[in-house]
């Protein structure tokens, strides 16, 4: 599969899906399901659960596509946010058994894949995000990445890094504020 669409084409398909157009919805699915499945697989422990959540994600996309506003959000942001939030909801609704890999390992894992961006726009945004992440302290950078890719909470990150909760919060808050001013500079 791997239907390639530009951001604008994807936005159009999503808007049409919001009007009940099933073939446009299929286009959205074909263009984005492999990416969103990758997002689910990063957060969830097994393929079966990830497929369940992927299905939930697209049911939500179908039902809420009418609320997608192309002038306010990029379609891929909108879709990734739903897939990631659904995955985290599922993760947290399950038993509190978590893989407790240290953040360093997770960091390696996050870097393992090739930088496979689907569109030029995405590649630009990713390059900017990574450029700004480079300006953070190593610790803050690593835990922010882990929070995104694994859906770990403050509490979990503090335990994994073996630091007090307050310390973890201040690392990340400081990192976030710096990241934001860099991104919007």
């Amino acid at each position: 599969m791997g239907l390639m669409l530009t951001r604008d084409e994807l936005a159009v398909a999503l808007v049409q899906a919001g009007q009940g157009d099933r073939s446009a919805f299929r286009t959205v699915y074909e263009a984005t399901s492999a990416k969103l499945f990758g997002v689910c697989l990063r957060i969830l422990p097994d393929r079966q659960t990830a497929e369940d959540v992927l299905q939930d994600t697209y049911v939500t996309v179908w039902r809420k596509a009418a609320t997608f506003d192309a002038s306010r959000a990029s379609p891929i942001t909108w879709l990734v946010t739903i897939a990631r939030n659904r995955s985290i909801d599922r993760l947290r609704s399950a038993a509190p058994m978590r893989n407790a890999a240290p953040v360093e390992d997770a960091h390696d894992l996050a870097d393992a894949g090739p930088l496979a961006s689907d569109t030029v726009e995405q590649a630009d945004e990713a390059a900017r995000l990574n450029g700004c992440l480079e300006t953070l302290e190593d610790k803050a950078r690593a835990v922010i990445r882990t929070a995104f890719f694994e859906g770990a909470t403050y509490d979990e990150l503090a335990k994994r890094e073996n630091v007090p909760l307050g310390t973890m919060k201040s690392w990340i808050r400081r990192g976030l504020m710096r990241l934001r001013s860099c991104l919007e500079a």
């Binding site: 791997g2 099933r22 919805f25 399901s33 492999a34 990416k35 499945f37 990758g38 997002v39 990063r42 990830a50 497929e51 369940d52 992927l54 299905q55 939930d56 994600t57 697209y58 049911v59 939500t60 179908w62 039902r63 306010r72 959000a73 990029s74 891929i76 942001t77 990734v80 946010t81 990631r84 939030n85 985290i88 599922r90 870097d111 894949g113 090739p114 930088l115 496979a116 689907d118 995405q122 590649a123 945004e125 990713a126 900017r128 995000l129 929070a147 995104f148 890719f149 770990a152 909470t153 403050y154 509490d155 990150l157 990340i172 808050r173 976030l176 504020m177 990241l179 934001r180 991104l183």
Partner: protein, 242 residues
Amino acid sequence: MTDPTHTPEDDRALAGELALRLLSPEDERAARAREASDPAFAAEVQAWNAHLAAFAAEVRSVEPSGAVWARLQAVIAPVANDNGRVGFWRSWAIGSTGLLAASLVAVAVLIARPAPTPVVEQPQAPAGGVTRVATLTLSEGGGQAMILAYDTVTGNLFIAADSSMASAQGVPHLWLVKPEGGVQLVGAIAGEGVSRQSLSAALASQAGTATAVAVSLEAPGHTPAADKPDGPVVASGELQQL
């Protein structure tokens, strides 16, 4: 968080914490409530989502199995175009609404009666609510698996399973697909023939808003968690209002 001295910086950080999903369950609930009621804060959360979604460029794409699309198709399928099935339901509904019509006539008679006679008898016919129906199709092959009807007032559920379900390995369990996503277990159902059951009040209200139903096959003696089937989802269908 209700501290009136909080600064725009604090809000921006909180929005980032919410977008990243760092907060504890209590803090997250409070922040979500804020997001729902405060457009400026919601815009901050959205801005963070947009920035952070760029991380997804690093995620390797993985093709999901074809079963995901097959199940999705069942959820979004327009039952109205399913020649024959809707007709079947309409005629079935007319049969059952005969009773409803009778009770409405009884009510009309009571209203039309001018004297302030106390109402001495309630109509005996069951007060019907909205009837919701679904035709479930098999995830593999798309053949018809069962038909289901649900009365939103009485909580009565009617299921007629097709013979195609009888050969299934495992115990069929019925699930409601919630409008916000996710599923809710109803319970084990008969895999063949016609069966009726009454839903508990808690389930009944969910069944009134569910958008679709699905059936999973579970190992004998095993009850899955209420929000996630452990066995394969073998059939599903959209719930329609008659």
